[in-house]
Homo-oligomer: 211 residues x 2
């Protein structure tokens, strides 16, 4: 299949998931978002399951491309920009964003019963975890962060990011709230500005020169 | 309907949810877990939706009863015991626990499309949030915790708890890991043992006498 056809089907899957959710989604719904027939979709993908797994692979590539080079000079700035890009999906449309996150939450609930889906979700999790751990390790080495356990701290941040996505779907929790909380967590737990401030050793993280 | 009948139906709903998940669940599945017919279930509840909403009310009552009086003398101990009881559902069976959490995750993905479900999930969220905020406020007043923003800190803890549930279902993240991370967060962010330790002001939270 050409890249164009593949991209067209993936974009159609995205739109169909936003509109119908995962549980109710049919191959026909996806075909309806393209100029192709359901039969021609089945020519490329045996089942809804296979198409969804290909869609998760496509999402993973799109996601890792989008968030791989966060802006910022210092590890703290890059960690902040990375978290920001994970929290903000590429659409500005609020309804579409929640609809898509809802479909992803449905997919997460499939993981215990579907090894292919579980495997893809684990790849997302491992990618985000490794990146956060790298920035924390780099920040400690640069003297910008305190000597915390990078793995435990990364795991905590990644768990909170997941909680923020779930809370947004389940109870409409504002993503700005999570953003603020995570900044406060990084400032207190990693940069430890307030501890340092109390002792007059530092005015803030901008005073720290990495290297 | 008598309390006995109601409890029997609720227990059957719990078992059926663990076995079939939410999306696939039918009234017949629930009836199969009782000695009643599907018709007699419909006599008490018009639809699967109504039964599920009643089940969430039942869960809420059971949950609030179970976690309402956490052990411990100090606010820090009570916060720790409360978090522990939220993380540990009342069953020891690992498979059943994950199956039930998976069904709950499916229900969370229904919230954007179902106001009755959304309302119940908001009640859970508000309950846990208020409790955590109370313990933090009490800890600050007792001089046991630093002067953090109780609402922001509670929101952070509650979001992480939700993330831990989602991660357990989606990628099999161990709940012990979350337990350890939250203890470290409370110690650093609230009790601030390591900040205090550095300055030799406190040996640890056990040295702090509340009141």
């Amino acid at each position: 299949m050409s890249d164009d056809v593949s991209t067209e089907i993936m974009t159609a899957t995205y739109r169909a998931l936003c509109e119908h959710g995962y549980a109710e989604l049919t191959m026909q719904d996806i075909a309806d978002e393209t100029d192709k027939s359901k039969a021609s979709l089945h020519y490329h993908y045996d089942s809804k399951h296979d198409l969804l797994v290909a869609f998760l692979d496509y999402l993973f590539e799109e996601f890792t491309d989008r968030v791989s080079d966060p802006a910022g000079e210092t590890p703290a700035e890059r960690l902040d920009a990375f978290v920001e890009s994970v929290l903000s999906p590429p659409t500005e449309d609020d309804d579409e964003r929640v609809a898509f996150k809802t479909a992803i939450l449905e997919l997460k609930a499939q993981a215990p019963y579907d090894d292919d889906i579980r495997e893809r979700l684990e790849a997302f999790d491992a990618f985000v975890f490794e990146r956060v751990r790298e920035y924390i390790t780099a920040g400690i080495e640069a003297g910008e962060f305190r000597t915390v356990d990078p793995a435990d701290t990364a795991r905590f941040i990644v768990t909170t990011l997941d909680g923020a996505q779930t809370k947004q779907v389940a109870v409409g929790q504002d993503i700005d709230c999570t953003r603020r909380m995570l900044r406060a967590y990084v400032d207190t737990h990693l940069v430890s500005e307030d501890c340092a401030g109390e002792n007059g050793r530092l005015d803030g993280p901008t005073e720290v020169t990495p290297e």
